[in-house]
Symmetry: C2
Subunit: 412 residues, 2 copies
């Protein structure tokens, strides 16, 4: 069973908003074994929407469309779908009641623009949207389904999770697609490819290896389809054997989640002191549910004054070595570890850019320091990207460094 995901909206095609809906939908469909064969984004125009729907209905078993269901004039999806499936727009009594309930709950008046949202193609199945005013619509034609969902991400996610995925699973119990992932660190993609070349060629029908490189690591994905699913574990084990000696972690969990698992296992705690990363490490760590079990807090010390007053960094050292230096980042890590009373601490100080670089410390220079129960150490990195990216890279490296420290700690 294959699917095409269509997003509708001029704002996507003008680059003003990032389409995160397609990824969410594709991820959920992949999990239940539906293969997404195409993603399409088209403008809010009748003709483009009509032609794209027509094309997709010819190519795929399942089509999921998001966007273009709002109450405003530039939203035309509903009308086009009604036209395509040869249905009239009529008042859907139940949808009107849902709408009234929702507006009442939000203390908002019903107006003309809202009212039109309860006029729906007669003959489609209406999916109740508990998080917004635009309901979902499920059209069927032969064995094919087209599902139209609102474009607001949390409304779309709500309908995918509550209606679409459970119904698809119930309807198609035989879907099969599975994969295993692992991450290989510090080996360039081309070198890894050469190393794995023979192994990859020996993969049997239905198994596939993919490389997903990001700076500093390559994620490897082994996918199995249909019958080959029963050989997936075996292939995955043999891949690990070929990778022996390289630094890798299994699974596809984000590093902040892996760090959390390690800390929980040890019953240990962590704190951060951040200058150039400006709170991003803390944000990553606390994005994991349950992180309060091991994360105590952070000092973002953007100004030197804060480094001195709050973290106890030596004013003389700051003056002599500069904020972006080995001794300062060590004092920051040790200072926050003491202040928060944690087992581990990590600190950053660097030049995120675009300004502030010097010949000795160009933009992208970052010192990262780690303080542990048995000592502390620091490393210098030279990233050379945009501000946003330098911050992201430094935060990821900081989490990696503290993870290594925790992993190598003597068992208690």
């Amino acid at each position: 069973m294959n699917a095409i995901v269509i997003t509708i909206g001029d704002e996507i095609l003008m680059g003003q908003i990032l389409d995160t809906n397609s990824r969410y939908i594709a991820g959920r469909l992949t999990e239940i074994g539906v293969e997404v064969t195409e993603m399409l984004s088209v403008p809010d125009r009748r003709e483009e929407i009509y032609n794209t729907v027509d094309y997709a209905m010819g190519e795929a078993d399942l089509i999921i469309v998001t966007g273009g269901l709002g109450p405003t004039k530039d939203d035309v999806t509903k009308k086009v779908l009604a036209e395509y499936f040869g249905m009239r727009l009529t008042l859907h009594e139940q949808a009107m009641r849902w709408l009234e309930e929702l507006l009442q709950h939000r203390n908002l008046p019903m107006n003309e623009a809202n009212r039109t949202q309860a006029y729906l193609p007669e003959g489609c199945r209406v999916l109740r949207n508990e998080k917004g005013t635009a309901p979902g619509m499920w059209f069927e034609k032969g064995w094919k389904s087209l599902i139209s969902l609102p474009g607001v991400p949390f409304e779309m996610e709500h309908l995918m999770d509550k209606c679409v995925i459970p119904e698809l699973k119930a309807k198609h119990p035989g879907l099969l697609l599975e994969y295993r992932m692992l991450k290989v660190y510090d080996v360039p993609e081309s070198q890894l490819a050469e190393h794995l070349s023979a192994w990859e060629s020996s993969l049997q029908e239905g198994l596939k290896l993919a490389y997903l490189p990001s700076p500093g690591l390559v994620r490897l994905r082994v996918t199995a389809k249909g019958e080959a699913v029963k050989h997936l574990d075996e292939a995955y084990e043999s891949l690990k054997a070929v990778l022996a000696g390289m630094k890798y972690t299994e699974g596809d969990d984000a590093i902040e989640k892996q760090l959390g698992e390690l800390l929980k296992k040890q019953g240990a705690t962590v704190a951060t002191a951040e200058s150039c990363t400006g709170g991003e490490i803390a944000h990553l760590i606390t994005s994991v549910p349950g992180s309060s079990a091991y994360f105590k807090g952070t000092v973002v010390a953007y100004h030197n004054e804060v480094k001195e007053r709050v973290l106890g960094v030596d004013a003389e050292v700051l003056e002599r070595e500069g904020a972006v230096s080995d001794p300062v980042v060590l004092q920051m890590a040790e200072g926050v570890r003491r202040l928060m009373g944690t087992d581990y601490a990590v600190a950053t100080s660097g030049v995120a850019g675009p300004d502030g670089g010097t010949p000795e410390k160009p933009v992208g220079t970052v010192w990262i320091g780690v303080a542990t129960p048995t000592g502390s150490y620091a490393r210098r990195f030279g990233f050379s990207f945009t501000r946003e990216r330098n911050i992201a890279k430094a935060a990821a490296k900081a989490i990696e460094m503290v993870m290594e420290a925790v992993r190598e700690a003597p068992r208690q």
Copy 2:
């Protein structure tokens, strides 16, 4: 002139990575007046790539393709493009020298997988990629162009900025498309649509209004094409007149950037104390270049112990009222303002979820406190989303609240 943007990669269609390239490319093309009429994502398979390229060459004047140029086996874009344009892959001497230089600079050996990256379709124009091993390729057929770029975002951005955009501008000086944006706060989209309905209907040919809703605000975009560009300012001014009395800000700057502008104008400084937002406010503020001029630092106080020890929150109040309360968030804001010596401070304490909710303080309950030179105050919010979203919403509201405080401050 219209364009189609194509991204290639199984990992996108499986929902494993978010396609940010299409948005970047669309944004840059829109700026120079190229209209993006479609975005397509297809898997790493010969046939799909071939058919999609063929379709796009029929529909658009310009096609930009990203992805599928890496040195590994699953990358097939280059071969398919050579086939489509009827070109042979031959060794490109200059590309090989660029590659050698790059690898040398990175202290990496040349290997077979890399070497193949210098084999390029004979007859396409090769674009030097200074940030990675896969060069860009510019194909021409009649008046149409197809440009193939690597999928790694910062390599793609580098080639877009350095080669593609400047050359397109030089080749097509007559392109015209302009827009103005503003953000309207606290008015639901449907109500706003009703309010603007007559104004929108009166817009002349070539002008278009679009609504881009996000929770708590609606961005409005007025676009002008071709001849209508000369009426854009007038239309924008009349829109502002129709919005009189509503809360809106002009432009499309992120609120953290707007906050920075306000603080710089006043010569004032800010600090944050964060519990449930876990450093996200600090991260947003410091994502703005030059934020060190007005941002001093943050204490992420995840544990109550840190709230007491570092921020000076009263242990008795914490015990009696709980961490998620009016008095605690006020003491946090005042505490960090004192600690960092700033003019303004903002603090958050709430239940981000998914666990930790109670009947009185369900998941999504967040107190936000603001401390200013003339007093402090707090507001309670009830978000009810996922953890990630509750954090994002609370951080955005915190920045909005401190922005209002700064805006309303008596001029010094």
